[in-house]
């Protein structure tokens, strides 16, 4: 537990549960989730498909209410989407009829930010994600990896404290995925945001995170919280260190033991 966490966690979930009605009665998607993300902490949430990890992220993003328990963002209850939390999903979800720059500026329009300041920031962020020369391009002119970079810039535009990332690289080819993983570490080291990063890739989780949480299949519960003490900045060589291998192997046991 870091000192910052004792002050005020960026995200604090306590005994969060979610049930929803189905034809065959109630389905329990999440059960008794306790989760705290410290200020500037990078937490990866690992779990099999359908364990409810995306649902947890939607709760944190204020896109739906929890059935039980409390969720707080910097000590304030989450009642809806907030400027202080930015989101990226597996799909880039860009507006196809807007240029890259206008897509990055979307939060400025929806959250009524000062457009001039936002414009300047959008240009800086496009620089940061390496797409400055594509500002006037349209999403269909970009590759999947580039579109996801636009999504990351859009997420960062309102300068949120908490980044909620739902398998952002899962739909990309292996090479783009690796490039973006490095890019994200780079961005994170500069911006120092709190991150909840959902993935089903163990190496990705271990490479990026300060702490890896493992979630069980439905109803989703957090079954392990593992501190990753690999030195930063992590590089390609990190993948080959014994510590990295040992950690991934340890985590993999969770998934081999139970049928996925």
């Amino acid at each position: 537990m870091t000192a910052a966490m004792l002050v005020s966690p960026a995200l604090d979930a306590q005994r969060v549960g979610l049930t929803y009605p189905t034809r065959s009665g109630e389905t329990e998607a999440l059960k008794d989730i306790d989760l705290a993300i410290g200020d500037g902490e990078f937490v990866a949430l690992l779990g099999p498909s359908g364990c409810g990890k995306s649902t947890l992220l939607r709760l944190a993003a204020g896109l739906m209410p929890a059935s039980t328990g409390t969720l707080q963002l910097h000590g304030k209850p989450i009642e809806g989407p907030s400027r202080r939390a930015g989101v990226v999903f597996q799909k880039p979800n860009l507006l196809p009829w807007k240029t890259v720059r206008d897509n990055v500026l979307l939060p400025a329009r929806t959250q009524r930010l000062d457009l001039r300041a936002a414009g300047k920031r959008a240009d800086e962020l496009l620089e940061l994600v390496g797409l400055a020369q594509f500002a006037k391009a349209y999403p269909f002119e970009l590759s999947g990896g580039m579109q996801q970079r636009v999504g990351i810039a859009r997420m960062l535009l309102p300068d949120p404290d908490l980044l909620l990332m739902d398998e952002p690289f899962a739909a990309l080819d292996a090479l783009s995925r690796e490039t973006l993983t490095f890019a994200l570490q780079e961005i994170w080291s500069v911006q120092r945001k709190s991150v909840l990063f959902i993935t089903h890739s163990i190496p990705e989780a271990v490479f990026l995170a300060d702490r890896v949480l493992v979630m069980s299949p439905r109803p989703g519960r957090i079954v392990e919280s593992l501190q990753i003490d690999l030195p930063r900045p992590r590089t390609l060589d990190t993948f080959d260190t014994p510590a990295f291998t040992a950690t991934t192997q340890h985590l993999r046991r969770h998934f081999n033991a139970s049928p996925i």
Partner: protein
């Protein structure tokens, strides 16, 4: 895309087919000595067209049909998009009104022509109303469907950035529905002409529909064919304009087509 030989520009090929058709028509009339009052040769139709243009007698008809069609089309389409957007947003409306309107879509709207005539008189108004009514339905249904089919993940992503309902409708759902809206506008072009012509058949003093109907009394088939050809050309130009607009407005979908 399959490989195609590109010897000539694409529009040439249908023109060749058209030329062959005209030639067959011409030869058939000659060969079997079909009388003019049954099927005039293409040259007679051409003569009727050029005489009509030279003397100026065709212009009022063309103008009347164009004005009726365009006014009705504009009114019907504007209403369809506006009501479609409102309806797609309101669950109550959707539950009560949408099924009724979809059911009405199966009714041939031109059957209402005589009733509309009684209500709106014998002038331009009845034609405009009929045209508006005819092109309203497909566009309305397309608008509702287009808005409903908006990618839910895209909507959720925008909601995560606190997008308001109005923002979602105006900046996400409507643009997303534009492909479907243009498909409806495309169908509307030919339906609008049908509406105008039927209206003019029923009762009118001018218009291409009137020209065709009144020429039927005097059995001047060349004039009737001239009217049909003018309608066909109008429809083609209209559809082409809508298509060109679609390519410019819905530019991000142009690649998929």
């Amino acid at each position: 895309m399959p490989r195609r030989s590109k010897l000539l520009p694409a529009p040439i090929y249908p023109l060749i087919s058209l030329g062959v058709l005209l030639l067959v028509w011409h030869l058939a009339v000659r060969w079997w000595q079909i009388p003019d009052y049954l099927l005039p040769p293409p040259s007679a139709v051409f003569d009727a067209l050029s005489a009509g243009f030279v003397s100026g007698s065709l212009w009022p008809h063309i103008w009347a049909t164009l004005v009726n069609t365009l006014s009705g089309y504009a009114i019907g389409c504007a209403l369809a998009i506006a009501l479609g957007a409102l309806l797609a947003e309101s669950e109550t409306f959707e539950r009560f009104v949408y099924p009724v309107l979809v059911g009405l879509q199966a009714t041939p709207k031109v059957a209402l022509g005589p009733i509309i005539l009684v209500w709106f008189g014998f002038g331009a108004a009845s034609k405009i109303v009929l045209v508006a009514l005819v092109c309203f339905f497909p566009l309305f249904v397309n608008t509702v469907n287009g808005i409903r089919r908006t990618d839910p993940e895209l909507l959720e992503a925008c909601r995560a950035f606190s997008a308001s309902r109005l923002f979602l409708l105006w900046h996400v759902k409507l643009p997303a529905a534009l492909g479907d809206i243009f498909a409806g506008l495309q169908i509307g072009v030919s339906l609008a002409l049908i509406g105008a012509v039927v209206g003019e058949f029923l009762s009118a003093q001018k218009g291409l529909g009137y020209l065709i109907a009144s020429s039927s009394v005097s059995m001047s088939l060349a004039t009737m064919f001239a009217g049909v050809i003018l309608l066909a050309v109008t429809g083609l130009i209209g559809a082409e304009i809508v298509r060109a607009l679609q390519r410019r407005v819905v530019f991000w979908q142009a690649r998929k087509q």
